[in-house]
Chain length 792, copies 2
């Protein structure tokens, strides 16, 4: 690199540093045309200076690499509150002004730029949805690297640079992300280039990696399949020169690894190690080039530089002077011309068009998204000659659909399935007929394992969810299938992704992306054998409080409804779809055509299950939401119509949970008329719900006669027991539903008393049966249901 190129790098970097400080501090006088005065300073100082110089260094260097190589690069920034640095660079390269024309490339635009930063009506102080070029929100820390890997999968030409702060590096999800190398296929995937920025401090203390011996940091990365190279120093020119050389070498290494693999020369023996991917360690002072000492205390290079190194600028003339000196050290008048526009010598250092980091379509994945080539889901339908006569493992049919989806995307490679290690356990194993698990190292005894796989099995919900998020936000499709209870492990990630989508909806320039589809299976009701720790439908609670613009929750009662639901979800955009259904053999209710109509409606009356008189109001409504609740409700309705034939019972099944919400709360909420057509206005509604019983009331509030909904659902009662005991423990059994229905119905038709006694007897017998279980050890079929579910 010659001197002038180095000059350019440093000059760009100083311009970015200038704009970073300007955003943090200034409400006026953005180019320091006049001496800095207290009234130019914002009333509240936000944003983090500490990490910003390193982020701008990375940005400037990546720009150079792009110009030199024409490579496709995506920049993921972990140190989120370094937002002003990324905003500054996106502004300098012109991307910002293209999506936000009101922030033009002149002095008026600069004023707008500094005023909008972390200001009411403006933008957040961290890298966030409004930042062009970002697929990663720097709020909740830990997911930068997992998002980077998700972006790299099936993007063979892309290099994802990912800056990881040594604060974020302490989180579990980030520590778990380093091993992404083991799942990266150099033939078909792109590359991830991590840049670990060791500035050695967090908000008020040291970081772990900042204090361990240097060789431990290198070892850590090396142990995870990386070949780290360290760039360290505090002299800007030297560090820039070192970094440029390291980056060039890293780029060459990446391309060599890929070329070797893609030339078919990658025939290493199965037991040998995979490639070591390059990684950079950047050890630079926290708050580098900022105030060194403030009020006699060292600031640069310490935790004191983490946020705003000069805090009382308005009231303290010394601080104000120090700020002005600091800002002028970046020579703004050499960087911007008399109109406030970046000088041409610097402007030409940015890549052009979509090659700019702020303009790459990979960071606005909807621009690259193609509709999935989905098979006709009717081909996988179960033949249901009559309701409740056929038993099947519902998710197995979904597995067949996904198998053919893998076949149809063999070339496009724009679909992946993510699952801790339970694809087979969740009955989705048909996918292995045509696809396999991605893993660098396979052995002959393995089944469906090897490089180039698109089934991502890693025992980490964080990695599954995060990889999928990165994959979706770069314009592809996928599904995350997981045990219901352990879906809470990555609940906070689902929240953050929901917030991302909600914010993205407000930005016209962000094109819609494929929805995040989460299949929750191995549910609370059928984790009877695994016990209490495996029983928890909590993700429903979490998601129903999120924005109705984004979240949908479906509880298909059987296989045909699951197929219809999955097809809909896989075609949808910008949603987080929860699909909740168990994997165990279960009764099937609807034909394909019935399922289509039922799922399209979201909820409906199942006349075959009830005993209504046409035109009359029913005496009682039995509502059911979810597969096991539907089974118990169908059985309860059968008991009622068999033993109390005069009672008019209506059965309502709900697939689309949010249909129960008032329409002003969720767009899927039925209007009043549709709601009343199903549930009446005053009829008692005995409701069986898959999730936590009382959570349903937060949906139903505001509905006509909300108190008449009596919800039986998960009540946090669980243990190692039988499926039927689970519904008894939680008082959702057919007997509980019948008893509740009889007691809440005003009329007492013939047979009511006898049926009530029968149900009580059955429950008494059941309790005795469980007590005696250890002695008896009855057969498995008796573990499941104490009486067969009836035909319609």
């Amino acid at each position: 690199m010659d001197d002038s190129e180095l000059d350019g790098l440093v000059a760009w970097w100083e311009a970015a540093n200038y704009l970073t400080v300007a955003q943090i501090y200034l409400r006026d006088n953005p180019l320091l045309r006049e001496p800095l005065r207290a009234e130019h300073i914002k009333p509240r100082l936000l944003g983090h200076w500490g990490t910003s110089p390193a982020l701008s260094l990375v940005y400037a260097q990546l720009n150079r690499l792009i110009r030199r190589t024409d490579a496709q690069l995506l920049n993921v920034t972990g140190p989120g509150h370094g937002g002003p640095a990324i905003v500054a660079n996106a502004y300098l390269e012109g991307s910002w002004s293209e999506v936000y024309p009101e922030v033009g490339r002149d002095e008026a635009g600069l004023l707008r730029l500094v005023r909008q930063f972390s200001t009411p009506g403006g933008i957040p102080s961290h890298v966030s949805v409004p930042v062009p070029g970002s697929i990663h929100e720097g709020g909740e820390l830990g997911y930068a690297l997992v998002h980077a890997f998700g972006a790299a999968f099936d993007n063979p030409d892309l290099i994802v640079a990912c800056t990881v702060g040594d604060g974020e590096a302490e989180t579990g999800p980030l520590e778990g992300s380093w091993k992404g190398t083991r799942f990266l296929d150099p033939r078909r995937d792109g590359a991830v280039l991590p840049i670990l920025n060791l500035n050695e401090a967090k908000i008020s203390g040291p970081t772990v990696l900042g204090r361990v011996p240097d060789e431990d940091v290198h070892e850590l990365l090396h142990a995870h399949g990386w070949a780290p190279v360290e760039i360290a120093g505090d002299d800007p020119r030297e560090v820039h020169a070192q970094f440029a050389q390291a980056l060039d070498t890293a780029y060459d290494t990446i391309r060599a690894i890929q070329a070797e693999a893609r030339a078919g020369a990658h025939g290493r023996p199965a037991s040998a190690a995979g490639p070591r991917w390059p990684a950079l360690i950047l050890r630079t002072p926290k708050g580098w080039t900022g105030p060194k000492v403030v009020d006699g205390k060292q600031v640069e290079g310490t935790f004191r530089a983490h946020q705003v190194p000069l805090a009382n600028v308005r009231d303290n003339p010394d601080h104000l002077a120090q700020l002005e000196t600091w800002m002028r050290s970046y020579r703004p008048h050499e960087r911007f011309d008399e109109h406030g526009t970046l000088v041409p010598e610097l402007a030409r250092l940015a890549p052009t068009g979509d090659h700019r980091l702020g303009s790459t379509p990979h960071a606005n994945g909807g621009r690259l998204l193609k509709a999935l080539d989905l098979p006709d889901y009717g081909a996988y339908a179960i033949d249901v000659p009559a309701p409740a006569t056929v038993t099947a493992e519902s998710t197995r049919k979904l597995g067949e659909l996904l198998r053919d989806l893998f076949s149809r995307t063999e070339t496009s490679r724009d679909f992946r399935l993510f699952c801790p290690d339970e694809t087979n356990s969740n009955r989705l194993g048909a996918v292995f007929e045509v696809a396999h698990r991605e893993l660098e190292q396979a052995r002959p005894d393995d089944e469906a394992v090897g490089p180039g796989g698109r089934v991502m099995e890693v025992l980490s919900e964080h990695l599954c969810q995060g990889w999928l998020e990165g994959y979706l936000l770069t314009g592809r499709h996928g599904m995350f299938a997981t045990y219901e209870a352990f879906a809470m492990v990555s609940a906070s990630m689902a929240i953050q992704h929901t917030k991302w989508l909600e914010a993205a909806r407000g930005l016209e320039w962000r094109a819609p992306v494929a929805s995040l589809n989460v299949l929750l299976t191995s549910t609370c009701w059928r984790n009877d054998h695994n016990g209490f720790s495996h029983q928890g439908p909590g993700l429903i609670d979490t998601m129903i409080s999120m924005s109705g613009d984004v979240v949908r929750v479906y509880l298909p009662p059987d296989a045909n409804c699951l197929l219809s639901t999955a097809d809909h979800c896989l075609r949808s955009r910008d949603y987080v779809n929860l699909i909740v259904i168990d994997k165990q053999p279960e009764l099937q209710y609807l034909t394909l055509e019935q399922a289509k109509a039922h799922c399209a409606a979201g909820a409906g009356i199942w006349e075959w299950a009830g005993s209504e008189h046409p035109g009359d109001e029913p005496d009682v409504v039995l509502a059911c939401i979810g597969d096991v609740p539907t089974l118990e409700t169908i059985a309860a309705a059968w008991l009622l119509r068999t033993h109390v034939p005069e009672l008019r019972v209506r059965v309502v099944n709900v697939v689309d949970l949010m249909a129960l919400s008032p329409p002003d709360v969720h767009p899927h909420g039925f209007d009043r008329d549709r709601f009343v057509a199903l549930f009446g206005e005053q009829t008692e509604v005995i409701t069986a719900f898959h999730g936590y019983a009382r959570a349903l009331h937060q949906l139903l509030h505001g509905r006509p006669g909300a108190p008449r909904f009596h919800v039986h659902g998960f009540a946090e009662q669980g243990t190692t027991t039988t499926p039927f005991d689970m519904v008894v423990l939680n008082e959702m059994s057919r007997y509980h539903l019948v008893l509740d229905a009889l007691r809440r119905t005003r009329r007492v038709p013939a047979g009511s008393d006898a049926l009530e006694r029968y149900c009580e007897t059955q429950l008494t017998r059941h309790h005795a049966y469980v007590r005696e279980h250890l002695e008896d050890m009855p057969e498995v079929r008796d573990w499941v249901w104490t009486e067969p579910a009836p035909a319609a």
Copy 2:
């Protein structure tokens, strides 16, 4: 080690393996007194054989170490579904029969032992609460090592052995836990001895660490401060001999590190590395000593051995014969005598009394727990001459209390504070006057950092929560203070801990432990400046669906209420207490005495804030839950009583959220009379709630007139804005509350119309104000509230 000692180790191990297989398979004939027949086999086969032999090897070896050294050992078992192995060992050593006398040490007891395993009415298949000697539930994977460190802190004589499976090792939280070494003080803490069991496979595929080069595994541990030693092989005697030697060496190393540190010889320079703690890598075949080949496929050493290696034993005579051969290979008749009792040569290999792994009081921490020496919280009270006249940062007072608590526990060392990196940010910084952050490596520029600290700052909610759980379950006290939104990161851990406590309550032998206290601060309402990703009260949703036996949620409105609440929580046992309050300056309402009474009641009428006529029913009730909701409610009440003096307004403040639940749902639920005394039966209740607005309806369902509660709360509306704009966006502002109250009140007293117009105008002005904010940049004080909150 001589041959006879080695013989003993192997014999114990084989007895444990035998009982493991017996638990998985047998319902009868537990000692194979007669030839194995199909009817002896359980109807459903559960439990995981794959990991079990390694777990029993560890147990046998730890027994030998204890007998040899008399050391205090605690055994944490990560591979959870290896439950039958741990149960087998606890049974062999006698601990099991002591807490469960019905499972005696004879043949009848053996029958009970095998029948109870993973059977309805019995115990789960994974290591769980009923297992004596366990502080760790092996359900949701990832927390074994973090629990082990929590147990070791401030337990200088304790060594915590922690077996980590290579499946669990893929999780983020486990990967994040290795660095616990950096927070372990050899002078004052005990030791953690990880045993990484590489059996190289998960349920249906390979593990990551099972396939990477061996040197990468060693490097990974070394990078985190460990000195790993590998034991590998498939010959039992050889592996046992190797392991014994490695364990002896590890023990000597641990004691040497501790002795050196405790002798004061630990004066290493600040920049040098800390000690490398020993760690063991145990590479043994999956399903070791089980069936090698089944139906022509390799099973031992592959994923096929993960669960039950022989599946169709009842229907397949070959499998049955294979099972019998396998079981008899462990020579049960040499291990147990004619009564079914373990032979004395083996029985004497177990440690005795509380030294047994299944009987150590460290795993039943309530036995060691001492009440905290709490200062009188009244000493930190804020002087409140009149309600709503004084402003303070409420959490700062809690920080002072915690400071003195640290002083008072200087010797007992049985209290720690856990916090990502926000102790100062959360205004708890007073603790640093007497305590400091634990970190091995400190530098002169640090503030309050160094070895021996009891403030645990690590940027990982998983580590904070997990360390605290391990600390509590071994009989100590603590608090986890965290940003409200990011508390969701470890929500699943909070769920699992709640389930643990719920299950422990059902076991008389488990003594109560100190509660898990979580302070949620930097709340959604006051993360205005950080934006949408930082705004989320979701942990409340998660926890209110958990068991009412365990969960309590407190929302103190001011500092004195916070002090009273914290004092209560720190004294409590076996609960998970959420305390929700912001850290920013906020109005103070109650004197110390008033706060004491108010918090003891859980909720009450604030007469000074309302305009009731004694004896009359109010026209409207304004209810508030949480600090910001209280502020807006007090202001709304002031507007109403100032402008519509005839309107009878009652103000109710709720501190104990669960008081709103019906008493059959939560024990804190007020009975009907108390509820009606506060809220009437028909009066409209305009409710301002800190959390997600609609979540409150799941508490209120079943209350008299539940639909009359109109909840204003967090509605997932957020951005980078002002605190006042947050309450406007979410329609919880004083103006929204007034408008709702006026519109829902039947009477229209004089002034109503004018006040309605005033509120509408204020909201219109506010919206304009926010739109113009970027241009105006008003002063900070104007960012906060558009009008001052009134005095009472």
